[in-house]
């Protein structure tokens, strides 16, 4: 089970969502994709996308305007 990290700090719409999807497409079932970013709307929309694709959102946390989201494929 690999852990894939995606850094979207400073990126604007729609990059965090698109980069999350790219990473999830490349990941194998069971892999965990961890995205970090600062774009406010993406913090709620990335988990929305994950749930729409029936994937587990393991964690959403935020510190000083920088969020981290972990999704299992």
């Amino acid at each position: 089970m690999a852990e894939i990290k995606v850094d979207c700090v400073g990126q604007n719409c729609p990059v965090p969502l698109v980069e999350t999807r790219k990473a999830l497409r490349k990941a194998s079932p069971g892999d965990v994709v961890e995205i970090t970013g600062t774009h406010p709307s993406s913090k709620k929309e990335i988990p929305m996308a994950a749930r729409a694709m029936n994937l587990d959102v393991l964690e959403v946390k935020e510190e000083d305007g920088k969020w981290t989201i972990r999704i299992r494929k």
Partner: protein, 139 residues
């Protein structure tokens, strides 16, 4: 089967193409299948070197408005049309070119960026995709 979105890109305006590609990429990112049909002035943006050459739909001001918007987009770290189109294709989005527009506007396949185009087609293909789509837009 995944849900589907179809977008007709009729406008060649810079801002409208930007919106169309953001929506297309967003739908792909959220797990949908997406087809974009490029027709009339939209199709002209698929000619080589023409993607970001469209005017603003409002406040273009002979290019000054567009220059200002592009500068502000850069400051906001908004990505280019070129990057969004590449992402769209990478995520499996389909780009369809209207063959009647090609005939009317005198555009040949050689003029277009054939590497990005999945199909050259007409209204029947659009309807066939749109009838099984949950989102359809005309931009």
């Amino acid at each position: 089967m995944a849900e589907k979105a179809t977008i007709v890109v009729e406008s060649g305006d810079f801002d409208k193409l930007y919106s169309a590609l953001i929506i297309g990429n967003g739908a792909l990112a959220m797990g949908m299948e997406v087809s974009m049909f490029f027709t009339f002035f939209g199709l002209l943006r698929l000619k080589k070197g023409q993607l970001d050459k469209g005017p603003l739909s409002r406040m273009h001001f002979g290019g000054l408005g567009k220059w200002m918007i592009k500068r502000r987009m850069k400051k906001a770290n908004a990505v280019s049309l070129e990057r969004m189109l590449a992402d769209f294709v990478e995520l499996g989005g389909r780009i369809m070119a209207c063959d009647m527009t090609m005939e009317i506007m005198g555009v040949t396949k050689d003029d277009l960026r054939a590497d990005l185009i999945s199909d050259y087609c007409a209204v029947g293909s659009y309807i066939q995709e749109a009838r099984e789509s949950t989102i359809t837009l005309f931009i």
